[in-house]
């Protein structure tokens, strides 16, 4: 076999992987002002796996997700979801923003927030029927919040708010779930509840991608990792990619020895 052929095969294989990938990002650059937050990043998410996006503060983890979804406008780069442009497969994507990004004193109840996940399906004027309400209620049950449907969202604890956001994503009934820091500032019971739901989604063949900040739980929670520090550092299965070398690369030596020991112990 000639070298050119092998390269062609290789490229063809890469393209095929990208077409099948639930989320494939190519050459993504996002900049706030003159300083890039994400620079020329490629990412190919494996289907039916849980992938953690990790990296130090300000490494562009959240920005990468937002750019992939078109929430922030990238300077360059493209995203495909299941091989198609994002705009054509919105109904297969569910997104959970950071909890701190909304005003929790907003006049709305838990069940109303979950029903927002059905808005694309309801359209502008479609009536909210009992079947929709039942579906929303079922999503609340899945995150253990069924008793809170008529509470005002401001009355919830941080962990409960996060679970309501997850329930809204469940209501979207997607194939790709993108979560921005779902475990930030939540209690241990919520963390357990959320990870159980996410693993359930994965086991049902859905793909889960989460921005994650707690390195010690990565091996326990996730199948794959994507390390980023403005640029892509590494990507692959936890066993082979979540290594000292890559972590030092991503965190540029900012990881204390104690933290490294803690990760190694897991």
């Amino acid at each position: 076999m000639t070298l050119t052929l092998a390269t062609k095969d290789g490229l063809a294989a890469q393209d095929a992987a990208r077409d099948k990938s639930p989320l494939a990002i190519r050459g993504m650059t996002v900049s706030y002002g003159q300083k890039p937050a994400v620079f020329s990043v490629d990412m190919t998410v494996e289907p039916a796996k849980m992938t953690a996006i990790i990296g130090p503060n300000g490494a562009g983890k959240s920005t990468l997700l937002k750019a992939a979804l078109g929430i922030v406008k990238p300077l360059a780069g493209s995203t495909t979801v299941f091989g198609k442009p994002v705009a054509r497969v919105r109904d297969r994507i569910a997104y959970v923003p950071q909890r701190a990004s909304v005003d929790w004193d907003f006049p709305t109840r838990v069940i109303d927030v979950v029903l927002m996940g059905l808005y694309p399906q309801l359209g502008l004027l479609g009536r909210v029927r009992k079947s929709h309400r039942d579906a929303a209620q079922h999503c609340l049950e899945r995150v253990g919040m069924e008793g809170f449907a008529t509470r005002q969202i401001g009355q919830l604890s941080g962990g409960q708010q996060q679970r309501v956001f997850l329930a809204r994503a469940l209501a979207q009934d997607a194939d790709l779930y993108l979560l921005d820091e779902p475990f930030a500032g939540v209690d241990a019971a919520t963390e357990k509840a959320i990870i159980k739901v996410l693993k359930g989604l994965r086991d049902a063949g859905k793909t889960v991608v989460a921005v994650h900040h707690d390195l010690s739980t990565v091996p326990e929670y996730f199948d794959n990792v994507f390390l980023i520090n403005t640029r892509r550092v590494a990507e692959g299965p936890v066993a082979t990619t979540f290594t000292d070398m890559h972590l030092q690369d991503a965190y540029a030596g900012r990881l204390a020895g104690a933290q490294m020991d803690a990760i190694r112990a897991t």
Binding site: A87, F106, M116, D187
Partner: protein, 397 residues
Amino acid sequence: MIRDALLLQLGYNATLVTLGAALLGMAAGVGGTFLFLRKRALVSDAISHATLPGVALAFIVMVALGGDGRNLVGLLTGAAVSAALGLLIVTWLSSKTRLAEDAAIGAVLSVFFGFGIVLLTVIQTMTAGRQAGLEGFLLGSTAGMLRSDALVIAVSAALTLALVLLMRRPLTLASFDPEFARSTGQNVTRTDLIMMALVLAVTVVGLKIVGLILIVALLIIPPVTARFWTERTDHVVLIAGLLGGVSAYVGAAISAAMPNVPTGPIIVLVGFALFACSLLLSPARGVVSAYLRHRAYQRQVHLRQGLLALAHGQPIYERLTLRLLRRQGWALPDGVATPEGQGRAARAMRDETRWQVIRRDPAYEAAAARYDGLTPIESVLTADQIAEVDSRIEVAT
């Protein structure tokens, strides 16, 4: 006279004007709700002040063309154009320059309003200008309003209401969680534009009745008032529409009965009265109920602390604590527990010990999170769980 006006007994024109005002008030309350929820209330102030040069220029142009300068449709078109220009400048300044939105609002508001006043002065010197009555656009006036004027206002207000009804879901989503809205493919920039168009429409239509200085109040006071009474977006919209409608109806009726009183200020004062009542009396968010809740809570805390002090045989120094214990009949004036007080103290003590146990045990984390020093543990755990906790306490002692 006022009673006649409120009952729509002042003739066909006054009735039409009053009903038109009510529709406008509803449109303003409903449209203003999303402005309030999106936390961009002050943009409407820039929009309304930016209408003045448009009104004046439209008058000058219509007179120059040999027409009637007072034609309402013409004046409102001028107002809409210059308000849109003002809005465009605010948006451009705050998105493309380093100027923050509040500074942009302040700049646009004052410059446009100043220019408008200059133009009004110029109009005063024109022969056609003396009877123009354009000052009515500053504070609102229903005096001399034509039947066709009232119809224009009523129809535009109804159209605005219909638009809000159609766009209620995108507007809600963009106000609560714009990032999520974008992730579902919603064009939030366009939703914001529609919201601003709504506000612009209400402002322009309301110029004649409420006046440009006070129209912002009709957009903002109703939703702020409605927020006191509900925790649901759709209900805030409905209540705000109702309150806006009532304020405008009453204001316009009073002004129709007393032609020398400007309409806008009356409408705003009616709206403010409703706001003040809500601020005081709302059961969930009102000042009075917040004070009562705080006092009840404080008393509960004092009683609990007093009982625990009794259980430990400690003296009680706080006068409020002692007074509360005495009123319950749980302590004597010298701070010694009565027999009933002793029972209560022992029970409080046992409750506290049980809480300490479950707060140390990760298995009870969810329940322990509800600890506030007041909630009895029976409301969190089952009888079996309590028995299990008690068995641990016995082992420890």
